[in-house]
Symmetry: D2
């Protein structure tokens, strides 16, 4: 047992941190300004994005998420986690490092299950940051927390699959650079419960794909990335677009899920760290009732609780990463479920305290915390709500005594 980061990780942490300070934080407002100036939030990408991506690539801070070392950085989950945390401190960072969801999960799926052809067509431009992608899973009319509720269909018809359904919260689908979706649907409603679903590559420009609207999150549109509600009407894609094989949808989802959660959780920890830092600084600068706000006992309580919350959640997330690396996602099932519950709730508590410490500024756009709150709030819902994960944790716990 050893709680120190390896030398390799420490060095990468320094590099990423330096990049954040030099290029990311100062450009958060630049991005917002360029968006405002360009007017069209959805179809124009602020040029700062490409400038920063080039910088990151140049410095070798690129595709750090990808464990496959022929395509990416070849870091383990445990090595990538602390870097991902740092990226999570800014809404701007993940894309700049080509480490943003859902592209990361999609790239990993392609690297692992893709055919050579699929890799050439989609993985390579994704790795280069030339295109972006989406992941179409959640459905509007059913409670998606129970995967067996999925109603979209993927039906074989000769050399093609025909896709029908309605998805929403398809994140990233708003971006003009988004060229492909991984789509999940039922290919065989009569198969065994976990073999009914398939995943298939679906080009954004396929006929029959209608992006009906972009969904806001607490008033934020997340442009140009966005969260789409999409109607799929008799969309036809070549049969070779299927991923891994018919009926493998659930299995791919399982494999995808572990790293995806680690990443989300680490970013949340980064967001919480930044909120705590901002809270410490702000309360040290202002006074009420004759003393610095940071001297008030209640505020010190918030700071202490935040520090304790963050430390614990980070350790649990790192342990989950370690277990994924050493004993695999399946054995780490309970740990992965735990961090999925722990991290967003922790982040919400910490960020909420920061909001309170900032007063009016805290709910505004002048600091990143209100936005971070909204983003963290969705992660108590996305990829299964807390309650579904808690239920699973409990069942695994109870099983020990059967």
């Amino acid at each position: 047992m050893n709680f120190s980061y390896s030398e390799k990780v420490v060095k990468l942490q320094e590099q990423v941190t330096q990049f954040m300070e030099e290029y990311i934080y100062p450009n958060e407002t630049v991005f917002r300004q360029q968006q405002d100036e360009q007017g069209d939030r959805w179809n124009k990408i602020p040029p700062i994005i490409d400038e920063l991506k080039a910088k990151a690539k140049e410095k070798g801070l690129w595709n750090l998420f990808l464990p496959d070392d022929s395509y990416g950085a070849g870091l383990t989950n445990l090595e990538y986690a602390p870097l991902c945390e740092i990226m999570g401190r800014s809404f701007l960072a993940p894309e700049v490092f080509n480490c943003n969801a859902p592209d990361t999960g999609n790239m990993e799926v392609l690297a692992r299950y893709g055919t050579e052809e699929q890799k050439k067509q989609w993985l390579e431009p994704l790795l280069e940051g030339e295109i972006r992608s989406a992941f179409a899973m959640t459905e509007k009319d059913v409670a998606s927390s129970d995967a067996t509720n999925i109603e979209s269909s993927i039906v074989r018809d000769g050399d093609e699959y025909v896709i029908n359904g309605r998805k929403w919260w398809t994140s990233g689908a708003g971006d003009p650079r988004c060229k492909v979706m991984i789509f999940m649907g039922k290919s065989d409603p009569n198969a065994a419960k976990h073999e009914q679903q398939s995943m298939i590559l679906l080009p954004m420009d396929a006929e029959g794909v209608t992006v009906e609207r972009m969904l806001p999150v607490f008033g934020y549109d997340d442009a140009p990335h966005g969260h789409a509600e999409i109607l799929f009407t008799d969309v036809r894609v070549p049969a070779e677009n299927i991923l891994w094989g018919e009926g493998k949808g659930f299995a791919i989802a399982q494999g995808r899920l572990g790293p995806g959660r680690i990443h989300h959780c680490m970013r949340l920890i980064g967001a919480a760290e930044r909120s705590l830092e901002l809270m410490c600084k702000r309360t040290s600068e202002r006074e009420t009732f004759g003393q610095k706000i940071s001297n008030h006992g209640v505020v010190q309580q918030w700071i202490a609780e935040s520090r304790m919350d963050i430390e614990q959640a980070r350790l649990l997330t790192l342990k989950a990463a370690y277990m994924m690396d050493t004993v695999g996602n399946k054995v780490a099932k309970s740990e992965i479920a735990m961090i999925k519950v722990v991290a967003p709730n922790m982040a919400l508590r910490v960020i909420d305290r920061a909001i309170q410490a900032f007063g009016g500024a805290g709910v505004s756009e002048d600091f990143p915390i209100a936005y971070m709150y909204a983003a963290a709030r969705t992660l108590r819902i996305a990829d299964g709500p807390d309650e579904v994960h808690s239920r699973q944790i409990a069942r695994l716990e109870l099983k020990k005594y059967r």
Copy 2:
């Protein structure tokens, strides 16, 4: 002691409820659609507003908030509270009934402290719903939770006052119908602590008033009402615009504060009630893991806790209203402070549970709950953060034993 609403109140509750069902709820989306269609969110008022205001006036459900029966409905705080609660169920309702902040507080100040001239010029059109108003109190550069921090100045110069400062979170200032602000600033920094401040009527179109930007709340712009950051540079207003007299700013704020808080709290209770109702309905309609979501134990726990939270907060708020009516704001000081803390926190808990029960839909614009959450969150900050009120409650409690 008697926990039943009076016959008069029950009848008004029925009328307001019927109006909500007939005119308000069905027009929430109409309002949003008109906004979208008009394009300019800030300078154009969706026409449904004036239609509905006319209806409410016609039905006599107008200015119910105003205890002064020559100008308003002449209801006590205890009588108005349950009506205000119902209005709080929709973002659209308060304006339609001409009962929305900050106009209500401004009208009450004018009714109580205004000169005949001031009443004629500003109170009458406000009572008619012809114009709207703002209240400029919170300042950007200091922690406003400590009123002595206020830095804006109101300086007498001959027949005029000269006003300088920077205010933000001046709600309502974005509305093209907003014609006047009540502005709070220091008129005499050397006076006794609570006699340094004055309030003055300041026309929106006065020279030197620059609305620099509108502040979003968690991504919501609240257009066309909005929350403004305003720069005041050598703004000159006639000396007779002063309210009550120089140095009376703090005293007016005190008088204004009680009813304003009751209103906010009752609206929050209404928002919580509606969220609970929506949560009950939604979870009764959908299934996961083989049963209605509303059958899951954890969801039933949320519903029960929400019901308990709401009942308690409502009773405390009604008691505070009762005390204001019977023993006055000063004696009711602790109760008013308590509801200011209790109601937003309660509402946030209830609404957050509803968000979780709704999943993705909960953070979107498809239901009013995400917006309600953002609005409620600001009320843990506005009019003094929780911590300042809690501190006061504690001091009043400790005083009993000195």
Copy 3:
């Protein structure tokens, strides 16, 4: 709607408060000392008890709980509640005023459902405070939170009933003055679900009654009252001991339940009030880090939260009492369930803060708070655990939308 206590109640509050100050608080330690001196905690009653009971009777502060005015004070639930609250401030008070559980519930059952003979034999000496009683309901081997789990049997055999079973948490059965139990068991396992149970009067000295042990609560034995585990082996009682009639057990329990809960809840509120008072006083007397403990922000937060918690729980409990008086227990079902959850949880929070403020003294016997905590903790379990009540609240809520 009116939040003031009636003149009659205010007067009684003053009398009870004065009695508490003069006779109860100063004798709490006297009671403990007499217990220690007497050595046998179970078979000897500290003489101070009878002295104080005589005083209370003399002052007319006796049987205030009993709504029946031929037997008791004839107060409504709403009138008695604030007096019961005051009694709840001391472990010593309820018995002194002849208002302690389970005697109160038993007396009410006898007054309402007892035959003349039953009243003469048991109700009269109970009303006089000459004997005490117990209520044998909870069973050891099944989860009693689900009443249908009850396994004890009451079987008719000629002119007698034969009783078998094992009960525990039969409170009061340790007291040498306890002469009778009301026993609940199944008389007809084949009857409709809520007509299977009966209640019967069972003299403590009946053959076949074995008090196997007294159960401690967190290390407190509650002597001489105590909580017994009792074995009933072929206990025979005359058939006329049945209460109301065979199969009426559930119905009696329902009728008993409302007032019993109000009483428990009001006493909990009294306990919380006293804890808050003690916390305020203690923290005003001691210093840490250069200032009074009561000046520390975190402690002020505790005081404020406690005040808010108590006020809300009290209002909800009073409202439940009001509803029981005006619309009956059945309509008040949700409110009664709510206070059963709200009051103990509230009291535990408040008392726990007091414990923390007292430091080591808080968990000791030097102040009544550790004991109050233990007592309050049992009330999240007794008469059905929180979860059962919450479930009922949720179901009643959901029913509104069916």
Copy 4:
């Protein structure tokens, strides 16, 4: 970074676990029975204790806590922590393994700062488990959370020191085998703030030592160990009894504090683990409303939250242990403060859920959980209340930005 226990630790875990199963758990009730049979809880030690101690010594599971490998097992904090956790699962275990507070802390102080003479006289019999010891620090009349409040005096007079004061919560002083105390008092009120205190060895039988009473914790007397209130009146001890030197009291306390806290925290984690295990088993065995209690959603929520709470607290505690071993107590100051707050609060939450799941049995003596609750509750107070540690955590956090 590595989250697996070393082979050495895994082996010791197995040994300790096996010992627990074979000798500790089955003898918990034996200990209680022997206590009951012996009658005198304070002066007679249940013979099972010595039997078990002999067994543990024989198996080499003895003095595992002591990092000094000439006297003890020579384990690091990180190695001992998981063993200490297992011991914390039973009130009986720490003494049996000669690893119980305050002996452990006293032995460590003696091993580190004791003279040869002091070691021979006190350390050796302590290491052998022949005698026991106490630690007299907390004072009754002042808030001990602020160490500068200490009022007891240690005054040099020729070849002796004269000791005066009143201490309470001197744990272990009730035991007839307790032969020595480490006493903390002020030796020089005029010295620099952290050099005013000294520690001195004080034999229990010294003249002028009056154990006035044993303090209960929530009704538990903790006999024969116990928590004493002791009056020291002109107690004279030889000058050579001073530890390390005059004015070193605070420094010794600092050194002692780290390991002591790790031990307490790990034991709390063990207590929480056992409570969770008991809760899982119990709820799997009983039914309500037609299904196993463990199937109810709310209970599953409790189980999941408990698992998440425990995992996080354990990792933080292990990290603190690791830091103490690698960078020292001073650098680990914040981590040590954090676990001191986190572990008892976590344990209380977990144990409280178990109590609720057990119903009446949960507050009784039939399961170890009510006692565990009481014990854990004192650890939010002992060695400084939560608030003092949180304050320190906040200050260390704020310092980063100065």
